[in-house]
């Protein structure tokens, strides 16, 4: 057998030749086969050495080829989803080609295989009632790599197993994605004493499941106790956030008590932090409330808001003044017993009003205070001050005294109006009570517009279709305010407004003083023109000596202004005559009238000279008290005298005689009269 194989098999030369041929063509698998065959046929030592090198090369090339083939197969298998087979092929390829991407593919395939196995396992145990079984499956799946959904399931599982600490830690890394998980997270947090985290988690609930309000109520006391000690930003804000989600009708009395407590704590926190803007929604409602502490809260917050934003000033004025005029609140400042000295309530009140006044002044200084706000501040401060000292009978309403603005905002005007109207024995100044009533009546808004200097709006805001004493009073009061405002601006057309206010001026003579003061104001003459007309018109209806004197004075100023502007003397003269009719001792009117007369005399003297009538001029000078007219007369006579001396002799005597007669009439002892006389005597000599 061996003999026959030896005869049939290729010779060494043939094997060498084929091997070399395949090697040269790059067909390494066949070249390898032939070289191996040649090696078995006993080549020489040199041949064997050469063949060994080539065989080594062939082996390497064949391995590369096999690796490439394995990769091709692996990819096809992976595409078909045959991951275990694909993994084998990649591992085979890796044995010959150590390339990173092959390693990555192998790792990915292994992960995928683990996941698939884990998912299959999770699916298999999903309905298992034993949480431990499920937990094992989740652990296995997570071992294959992170997966938030499985981690959340694991956390839920941990809650079932009462392993709350681990659950809370896990939930912290994978926030719950469903309301059920959130609830379990809350349960775990509550179990480990993290009540605030529990409530915060509940805030993320998309829907409020039935009964949640009771569950939150269970947590509230514990969360509040935790909030007391925890070093956390705005802990009560967390509690308030969840508590505020529920409708009021769903909350129990206990829930409300805790919510009030939380609101109170939160207000204190925000106040200390200076976060006043966030406070208004947390304040208890004030409407119709006689709760002094609530009033103080609103007042303080409004004041702080007004310090930062002008928009809140009007509200702050109403609230602050009402709180500051509350005796109970001021007396409470000493109740803690630390200050043993008696506190002077009025002095504190004055200082607190000053605080607000300084705020208003600050805005005014910056030029940001509107006329309206300035008016409201003056009115609110004045009215509550008047109310606070008004002697009243009976028990006043709980909110008394308050500012008109406060009453209007909180619907308290009617109650105060009724109380003021019920005063059977009005104070000495009934007019004052009438005014106070007006500010709390249905005309309150109109009165506030009036104070704000918005007269047209004030008149428009008066109730229509009603006509009673109070409304008539309001109308005249607004008319007077309107008239005074216009007069203070130096407007001309104000007579009508003052006449509209006549009934008030007749009923309340003290209001005349405001007009009288204005008549003596230090203003230019034009300022008084409208006022003079108005006061003159009022004088026909008002019999008050001071008012008449002021009227005559202001009319005198008007006449002076007219004269300075070069107006007709006759018109000014008539005005002054009327002024003297109103008040005969009016100094300004009398002296101005005299001045007019002198001026008129001077004009007449000039006219007489122009008409070559020195005797007429002399007679006019004699009737004048103005020394200027006399001087003027002799200046003209001197000129004429010089002219006569230079004239022809034929006319000299007659002319000289004429001026002598005139000069002697005015002053026979005047040096010029004497010179004329001497010259006349010379002319009369033959």
């Amino acid at each position: 057998m061996a003999k026959s194989r030896k005869v049939k098999g290729p010779s060494l030369e043939q094997a060498l030749e084929r091997g070399e041929r395949f090697f040269q063509k790059g067909n390494f698998p066949l070249a390898k086969r032939e070289i191996e065959a040649a090696l078995r046929l006993g080549p020489s030592e040199a041949q064997a050495e050469e063949l060994a090198i080539k065989l080594d090369r062939c082996a390497r090339e064949v391995a590369i080829l096999e690796g490439q083939e394995a990769i091709k197969r692996a990819r096809k298998l992976e595409k078909k989803g045959h991951y275990p087979e694909a993994l084998d092929q990649f591992e085979k390829a890796l044995a010959t080609r150590h390339e990173p991407w092959i390693e990555e593919r192998i790792a990915a395939l292994r992960t995928e295989l683990s996941r698939s196995e884990a998912s299959a396992l999770i699916e298999a145990v999903a309905e298992d009632e034993d949480p431990k079984v499920r937990l094992a499956a989740y652990d296995k799946a997570l071992g294959a790599g992170p997966d938030p959904a499985i981690a959340e399931k694991k956390a839920n599982c941990l809650v079932e197993l009462d392993r709350f600490d681990e659950a809370v830690i896990l939930y912290a890394s994978v926030p719950p994605s469903s309301d059920l998980s959130r609830y379990r997270y809350v349960y775990a947090c509550a179990a480990v004493g993290r009540y605030l985290d529990a409530l915060q988690a509940w805030q993320g609930m998309e829907e409020s499941p039935q009964g949640l309000v009771e569950q939150v109520e269970q947590l509230l006391p514990w969360a509040c106790h935790e909030a007391e000690d925890v070093d956390r930003e705005d802990p009560y804000g967390v509690i308030a956030g969840i508590a505020g989600r529920f409708d009021i009708q769903d909350k129990s009395e206990r829930f409300n008590a805790w919510e009030d407590f939380v609101a109170c704590k939160r207000r204190s926190f925000l106040w200390e932090q200076g976060r006043y803007v966030e406070m208004p929604p947390l304040l208890p409602p004030l409407a119709q409330s006689s709760d002094r502490a609530t009033l103080a809260l609103h007042a303080k917050v409004a004041f702080k808001l007004a310090e930062r934003d002008l928009e809140h000033l009007e509200s702050a004025i109403a609230l602050w003044l009402t709180a500051v005029y509350d005796d109970t609140l001021l007396d409470a400042l000493a109740v803690h017993g630390v200050v043993t000295e008696k506190i002077d309530r009025q002095s504190i009140r004055t200082r607190l009003v000053e605080q607000l006044g300084n705020l208003v002044k600050g805005y005014a200084k910056e030029g940001r205070l509107s006329r309206r706000l300035a008016g409201i501040w003056r009115m609110e401060e004045r009215i509550i001050r008047q109310l606070s000292v008004l002697l009243v009978a009976g028990t006043p309403p709980s909110c008394y005294p308050c500012t008109p603005g406060f009453a209007m905002r909180h619907g308290l005007g009617e109650e105060i109006f009724r109380f003021l109207s019920s005063q059977r024995h009005p104070p000495s100044d009934a007019a004052e009570l009438q005014e106070l009533r007006a500010y709390f009546s249905t005309a309150a808004e109109a009165m506030m517009w009036m104070e704000a200097g918005e007269d047209e709006r004030a008149l428009a805001a008066l109730p229509r279709g009603i006509e009673d004493d109070l409304l008539r009073y309001c109308r005249t009061r607004i008319a007077l305010a309107c008239a005074m405002a216009k007069a203070r601006r130096g407007e001309q057309q104000i007579k009508r407004h003052f006449l509209d206010a006549l009934p008030l001026l007749q009923a309340e003579p003290k209001r005349l003083q405001e007009i009288i003061d204005l008549a003596y104001a230090n203003e230019p003459a034009t300022f008084f023109e409208g006022l003079a007309d108005a006061m003159e018109a009022l004088c026909g209806q008002i019999d008050n000596p001071q008012f008449r004197e002021a009227t005559a004075h202001v009319m005198g100023i008007k006449a002076v202004g007219m004269l300075n502007r070069g107006s007709s003397l006759a018109v000014a003269e008539k005005l002054l005559e009327r002024a003297l009719d109103i008040f005969p001792d009016a100094e300004l009117a009398a002296t101005t009238l005299d001045a007019i007369e002198e001026r008129r005399l001077g004009d007449d003297i000039g006219k007489a000279f122009k008409r070559q009538n020195p005797l007429r001029a002399a007679k006019l000078v004699l009737g004048s008290d103005n020394p200027n007219n006399r001087s003027y007369f002799f200046e003209i006579i001197e000129l004429w005298y010089q002219d006569i001396l230079a004239a022809e002799q034929a006319v000299q005597r007659g002319a000289m005689s004429e001026i002598y007669e005139a000069a002697a009439l005015v002053d026979a002892t005047h040096p010029l009269t004497h010179r004329i006389k001497v010259a006349l005597d010379q002319l009369e000599k033959p």
Partner: protein
């Protein structure tokens, strides 16, 4: 005027002794100028000025004592939450 209660970290019930202790502490802390601390002390020692400052700066407790909880809780017990499975 600045808030004297905040400058000296005292509440409205602070006695003169409490205030003096806090004045010394505030000086050591150096958070405020000496002048400011002295001004705060002066305000709190003046009954009128203190009352004005209290009205302006102390929010108050809306008619309740803010340190009192509406109800107490038992140590060692937690809230009774319903367990969802």
């Amino acid at each position: 005027m600045s808030n004297p209660f905040a400058i000296l970290s005292v509440d409205r019930t602070a006695t003169k002794r409490d205030i003096l202790v806090r004045v010394a502490a505030a000086m050591r802390e150096g958070r405020y100028e000496t002048r400011v601390i002295a001004e705060a002390q002066k305000t709190l020692f003046d009954p009128g000025a203190r009352a004005v400052a209290e009205f302006e700066y102390v929010l108050g407790d809306c008619g309740r004592s803010s340190s009192l909880f509406p109800e107490s809780i038992e140590d060692g017990k937690g809230p009774m939450l319903r367990r969802l499975c």
